[in-house]
């Protein structure tokens, strides 16, 4: 199953959950164990509820949230389950308060989860910057809905740029994980806590309204994450010098030195934590790039395109930041076209273009507002790209 530090390379589609790793099974890191429920058969769970329960299994100490559709079930699940477990739950007066409660609990050493949907995430943007600047680990779930503004409550992917290019002000990045099934979301919740604590950074899981609302069978063995040693948490300065968790460094040289530490951390994340999955890429002449719910549609489109004789494949980034640039180039450089398929007017496609650097023509197919592209629309997009591009060298060989 999913573990960190393992790029996925081959093609092994799964009708339920596309495992992020598709090569040999790696040994999970020592800090990951399995929580086996009393029952061993698979459970049918709603995405929001599965994410919440996965967080509890992973050792989440405190949850803070505010009601917003389509993530409200996550809050409701936590409202019942966290007190049962003797852990912290507060329904905050706003998303702003929720993320700041998370900041405080994280400073005190808690493993913290916050969840919301697009407009609420915008409200949290300021504190995302403070969390990054103060180096505090908090996992934030964004169950994306249609935008801009109040938008719609349908599933959308219009927050890609917000999530990957920065929510708030200043020079910082946040690792962003994108599940495309509920089973994968369960895995990624545990991984998100690991990443957050390993690198002392907020981590975002970018889901969407369909992943939040849909029900799928899931494996009840949820990952449990061992506590990590920390020499920075606040518990009262007994027998040691006081600690201050701050993002304020008024002297420019001090702030630059602090920023250098952050940038070194981001560099390490880029080097070590890039993840993606591929399906049917070995002979792909057209590479579809998609994440989340859009990747589920693209998977079907790949099958239909192949039935028409067009060799398509799916490249699915799992870390949206850091974006799997090398992974995409490694599978797409010989292709005749790359198509970003997303539930937005064109956000993921920007990273795809940057990765391809003009070496392969890049196309885009997107729907907005809560509309989900149909597989046939995507096959049409493959057909259009096919007609506008010359055959790839590998195709000539065939």
């Amino acid at each position: 199953m999913a573990v960190l530090d393992r790029p996925a390379t081959a093609d092994r589609p799964d009708p339920i959950a596309s495992p992020p790793g598709t090569g040999g099974e790696a040994t999970p890191p020592a800090e990951v164990a399995r929580v086996h429920a009393l029952r061993t058969e698979r459970l049918l769970m709603k995405g929001n509820e599965a994410i919440a329960e996965a967080a509890i299994a992973a050792g989440c100490d405190a949850y803070f949230g505010y009601p917003i559709t389509p993530q409200a079930e996550l809050l409701e699940w936590m409202a019942r389950r966290m007190p049962e477990e003797g852990r912290g739950f507060v329904q905050a007066e706003s998303e702003i308060a929720a993320i700041n409660m998370a900041l405080g609990a994280a400073a005190a050493g808690a493993r913290v989860l916050v969840s919301s949907s697009s407009p609420g995430i915008s409200l949290m943007a300021e504190t995302m910057s403070y969390l990054a600047g103060s180096r505090l680990p908090v996992v934030v779930i964004n169950v994306m809905r249609g935008g801009p503004g109040l938008g719609s409550i349908g599933a959308a992917q219009g927050d890609y740029l917000q999530a990957t290019k920065g929510h708030g002000h200043g020079d910082y990045h946040v690792p962003v994980l994108a599940p495309s099934s509920i089973g994968e979301a369960i895995e990624l919740v545990g991984d998100a806590f690991l990443l957050a604590e390993r690198y002392r950074t907020p981590v975002m899981i970018l889901a969407d309204g369909i992943l939040g609302q849909a029900m799928e069978p899931v494996d009840p063995a949820f990952p449990r994450i061992a506590a990590q040693a920390a020499d920075w948490i606040l518990d009262g300065a007994a027998g040691r010098e006081p600690r201050v968790l701050r993002s304020l460094h008024l002297a420019p040289a001090d702030l630059e030195a602090h920023n250098d530490v952050l940038q070194a951390t981001y560099h390490e994340i880029v080097e070590r934590e890039v993840r993606w999955a591929g399906e049917q890429l070995d002979d792909a002449d057209v590479v579809l790039v998609a994440y989340g719910t859009a990747a589920r549609v693209a998977r079907t489109a790949v099958e239909r395109a192949r039935a028409e004789g067009m060799h398509a494949g799916l490249f699915r980034p799992i870390t949206l930041w850091p974006f799997p640039v090398d992974g995409l180039r490694s599978v797409a450089l010989g292709a005749r076209a790359v198509i970003a398929v997303e539930m937005s007017a064109g956000q993921l496609v920007e990273d795809v273009r940057l990765a391809m650097e003009g070496d392969v023509p890049v196309f885009h197919h997107g729907r907005t507002g809560g509309m989900v592209p149909s597989p046939d629309e995507v096959v049409d997009a493959v057909r259009r790209a096919w007609s506008r591009t010359p055959a790839s060298p590998t195709e000539d060989v065939r």
């Binding site: 405190a62 808690a110 968790l245």
Partner: protein, 285 residues
Amino acid sequence: MTAPSRNGSTPVTTATPPAAPGRLVYERPALLATKPTSYCPGCGHGIIHRLIAEVLGEMDLGAQTILVGSVGCSVFAYDYLRLDAVESPHGRAAAVATGVKRYRPDRIVFTYQGDGDLAAIGTAEIVHAAARGERFTTIFVNNGIYGMTGGQMAPTTLAGQKTTSSPLGRDTSVVGFPLPVTEMLSLLPGVQYAARTSVADPGLIGKSKAAIRRAFEVQQEGNGFAIVEILSTCPVGWGMTPTAAMDRLASTVMDAYTTGTFVDRAKGIAPSLPQPGTKMATAEA
């Protein structure tokens, strides 16, 4: 040590006479850092920092206390109080303190906030923390102005008071009246202790210290939220000398803001106020 006399002739001895053995009358509290503060001459933050350091030291709580900082001049409180501390975004200290205290209910947690931070941008957070009865303490320093950013009008600025953003004086017909935050919070049953004090003279400073001590005791009792609002000065923002600012605090400011203990439920000081679920008397519509 000697210094020249005024006429420059005979040196005058200015050495301090030896103190009576065994009687310590004044010292720096152990929880107060030795570095000079960045606060302006005549600013009340230095006095209030010292009071907090004295109280936490006397209660032997320094090693189990977490300070939640805020934004404004007092953002530097964590440089001067030798306590574990976390910084908050502007206005959010009460939410941050909620997170700290919920996870570590065995620790003493307090916010230190100015009136711009608490009474303007942070009103939602402070009201709801108080309404939930969060078990932390808030030290609310009210000098009626935004000091850090250059002396702009705050929600607590008095009617008619001139600031850089109310250059003709606060016109209540346009920008409304000063916000009586502590009185408002006193209405909430989650508030166990609420008091307003001042640092205008040594006697009032002593009362402020007693209120701070009581607010931390209330947190130890663990029944709800405690707040001490301390009326303070901003000589630079007010355009006054430090002594003139203290005079204004003792007169104009204290005339406008009632001082005293508004709520101390454990001691039976509790305003009788309507709550949802209870009826209040109203005039006929």
